[in-house]
């Protein structure tokens, strides 16, 4: 028995849902959606949950994460209820609800707070970065008050907390998604199958491609490398590539000074992919090229902007290091590069970035339940 919470509607509006109460349940959105399928009907069903205030039902439906926000639902909606914006808002809400500290909710619903928080975090990170060098003038007095080890350990603890938040969110999500779920007849086979399908989908995002190739789609006749699917894929793989390169460098204790080292090469290629993808995505959003890009929230801008800046400043540094230009500007760029990259990682579980682990969980659940 579903219990209605009328305040849910207002909550979702704070998370950036449009005028979705205008919906009269015609179902055009679900009919035009390329990804909606039997047992995973969206957006209409999810919109219905929001309109009536069926909060728990909305969060327990993995269909929420099957959407890639192509926007054809909003294009065809006869009531201008903007299902695409609604789905995005509901995803933000789901992220905020899964994460235990409540920070995500604050950041998503208050733009000023979100900006202040990012700036303060950047200042703190920058300050520590500048003061970590033990023989620095500032560090002498500062490390008297706050020893280097403590800062290092606090940093580690913050990282661990982020990971815990992330894991907590994933567990919360699993619990909601699998509530009242009966295991399939051959659970192990279903599990293997679901994992396989999830990995294939994550690597190829072929469902995303079907959005671009829709008959009515703006992108259908455009070159492959400009399609949202390709853009998203290059951001994703660019980021993963850079993460792997950095991690390998860290493990090998090798800062990657030689251009032709494999890790350096991986980093360069990944960097190009990241900058290419994020630049196009930012351009699409600025130009509002399709309804998919029409409505951007601050969390979209912060996330994309950070990725782009991290990538561009990385190349800047690469050129500066190769040419051996030691200038104060380059030092500042390096500092900013480090601060922004760290912020991205630190806020992994508290920003739009969180979709990177919620979506796989939902995809897995969807495939597993379907088995």
């Amino acid at each position: 028995m579903a219990v209605l919470d009328p305040s849910f509607k207002r909550t979702l509006k704070r998370y950036g849902a449009g005028d979705f109460s205008a919906c009269y349940n015609c179902g055009t959105c679900t009919a035009v959606c390329n990804l909606s399928e039997k047992n995973a009907e969206f957006p209409r069903k999810l919109l219905r949950y929001g309109m009536l205030g069926m909060k728990e039902e909305a969060l327990a439906d993995p269909a929420l994460w099957l959407c890639y926000a192509c926007g054809s639902c909003s294009d065809t909606c006869p009531r201008d209820a903007d299902p695409k914006a609604y789905m995005a808002a509901l995803r933000r809400y789901a992220v905020a609800r899964s994460e235990p500290t409540g920070l995500t909710g604050l950041l998503f619903t208050s733009n000023p707070l979100s900006i202040v928080f990012s700036l303060v975090l950047a200042l703190v990170l920058g300050f520590f970065m500048l003061t970590l060098k033990p023989d620095h003038v500032v560090s002498r007095w500062i490390f008297e008050a706050l020893p280097y080890e403590i800062i290092h350990n606090v940093g580690l603890i913050v990282m661990i907390l982020t990971v815990i938040s992330m894991l907590f969110g994933v567990v919360m999500m699993f619990r909601r998604l699998f509530k009242g779920f009966k295991l399939p007849e051959r659970p192990w086979a279903a599990l293997v199958d679901a994992v396989k399908k999830t990995i294939v989908e994550l690597i190829s995002m072929k469902r995303y491609r079907s959005c671009d190739n829709d008959e009515e789609s703006f992108w259908r006749t455009r070159p492959l490398v400009t399609k949202p699917w390709f853009v998203h894929l290059s951001i994703m793989w660019g980021f993963i590539g850079l993460l792997v390169a950095t991690a390998v460098n860290f493990i090998l204790k090798d800062p990657g000074t030689q251009v032709w080292l494999p890790t350096r090469l991986l980093g360069t290629i990944s960097g190009i992919a990241l900058v290419y993808g994020s630049s196009l995505a930012i351009y699409y959003r600025l130009a509002k090229i399709t309804s998919s890009y029409k409505k951007s929230s601050l969390s979209d801008w912060l996330f994309l902007g950070s990725l782009w800046f991290a990538g561009v400043s990385g190349f800047w540094m690469e050129i500066a290091v190769t040419a051996d230009w030691a200038s104060s500007l380059n030092r500042i760029v390096f500092l900013l590069h480090t601060v922004v990259s760290m912020e991205l990682v630190l806020l992994f579980a508290f920003s739009k970035f969180a979709h990177a682990f919620y979506r796989p969980v939902a995809l897995f659940t969807h495939f597993f339940r379907k088995a």
């Binding site: 579903a2 219990v3 005028d19 109460s21 205008a22 009536l52 069926m54």
Partner: protein, 659 residues
Amino acid sequence: MAEQKRVGVYICHCGGNISDYVDVVALRDELAKDPDVLVSKHLQFACSDASQKEMEKDIRDQHLDAMIVCSCSPKLHTHTFRNVAARSGLNPYKYVQVNIREQCSWAHSDHSAEATLKASGLVRAGKERVLNAEALIPIRVESRQAVAVIGAGVSGMRAATALADMGEEVFLIESAEKAGGQVGSRAKLFPDNSSGAALVERMQGEIRKRPGIKLFTKATIQNVSGSLGNFTVKVSVGGGETLSLNAGAILIATGYDDYKPLTDEFGYGSGPNVMTLPEFNALLESGSGDIRVGGRAVKRIAYIYCVGMRQVKGPNAYCSRACCTAAISSALAAHERAGGLDIFHLYRDIRTYGKQESFYERSSKAGDSYLMYSEKSPPKVEQKGASLGITVKDSLTAKTDIELEVDLLVLVTGMVPRSDSGNIASLFKIPRGSDKFFNEIHPKLRPVETVINGIYLGGSCQGPKTISESVQSSLAAASKIFGVIGKGTIELEPIVARVHEADCSYCGKCAKVCEYSAITEAEHGDRRVAIVNSSACVGCGICAPVCPSDAIDLARYTNAEIESMIDAFAAASGIVPSASGEGDASGKESIQMKEFPARWNTMLAAIGDEAMSIPAIAGATGFDAQDVTFEVMTMVKYRVLVPKGIDDDDEYYSYQRKW
């Protein structure tokens, strides 16, 4: 020898509609041989101006004394050709229309020879009828220039002022203490939020301004007698004196009652927090700020729609049509009065038709939740402490069971016929439908007239209506009434029952069966006979067959006319049709198809040169017998097969290739 008859016969081709199947030339020739027929012609279109002029000329030049046109249904062109007759000096009732299109060519397009034979019978019958027809003159009735309007609600008041402005005297008869009806008690009405009380006050002012309107309140109608042009309505006013009001016509505008939910229907009566929409409106309009029920401020309201309406099994099968908008507009008013409300609408279908759709739009944008239930699983309501628990299966959310807790439940009740509508129906002898609302003659073409001449309907006594629809209908009735009685004399169709006094000894059987009270008993010399009030008689003819001494007949349908038609139709036709299925009048051959459907070829192969019945074809081809029937009928229609005749056991027709 009887005097020479001079009948004109015109046979219409209807541009091929008739002549493609019925041999109009053969008909013309057959009729031309008839000694009674002076003119026999066939025309492309009898209704065309040229043809009408030709007929007029014939009537004048040949001194025709009767005319028949053999064309389409009399419903279409009787008046056209009656007017042709009238224009050229022939009595319009000496004209008969014979329907050889709907009854012959269209109905028997696959048997044209037989269609021609049937047409010939009908035309001969028509000719006999017109010979026996009397030249009738319209009945003229003097009318009182006064109208009795029953009910002084918004419909009755508006019609009264309109009639008074047209110069009629109006008796406005109201059972309540004052004029105003249902609208008078409302403070806010959709679509413009105007006040019902102000509206009624304005109308009362208009009535006072017009001396021609006499308003009787606390009035009870005791008896109604008379007929169109001269009704007498006996009214007792205030329980005291009885007045006898004389009116030319009557407008019934008695309105509706609000549906009263049964005890415990959706929790009605279980507490102060369950009320009907009219009750809620009264509460809503009675104050400002928070809406309070049982001392508590209301935060959550649920509406249940279609309460007592659209019942598949119950008595009220109809939709009350105004209540969806009324409920939604009350929800908007509630939002306006008390902010921060959560409103749930539990509906079956939202019918905010026409311009009222904007109400639904506004309400849904205001954040109201709409849950759809089906009649089969209605919401369940139970008291839960100070609030109400409602469970509903929402059809729009995959029929999920949904539970909501509200402070107030509003039951959206519709309009039902007034509890005294049975009494009014029997006083005025007007029929009610199965829904117990008063019935009009024709819902589209005669929407404000009743079967009783001179009695009209206005407003929601006829069925659920909004205020504007009610006023529209009562104004329509007012202009209809003025159109009939405004001239002082009324011309009526002379097709009424007539009593032959010599044969009548008043047994009363005819008066008993007459539903229009048109027959009464009267003195005739030393005997008592029946007399017909021809302004009340509608010509239904039910009195004629019950008369044991054949003393009563119906003009245009006299025994002489009907019997002569039967004899003429039964007589042998001069036309000799060719063999069954052959001799197509239009000379059409079997259709030319590039190739037959595969199934036809299979069937034709099975039939070969033999004649086969449908079961035999089905057996030979292995096709389903029903499919074979369909295909055979189609093939006969297209003249690929011809019926060969019935088999020896009189069981099956057999069919043969056409060539």
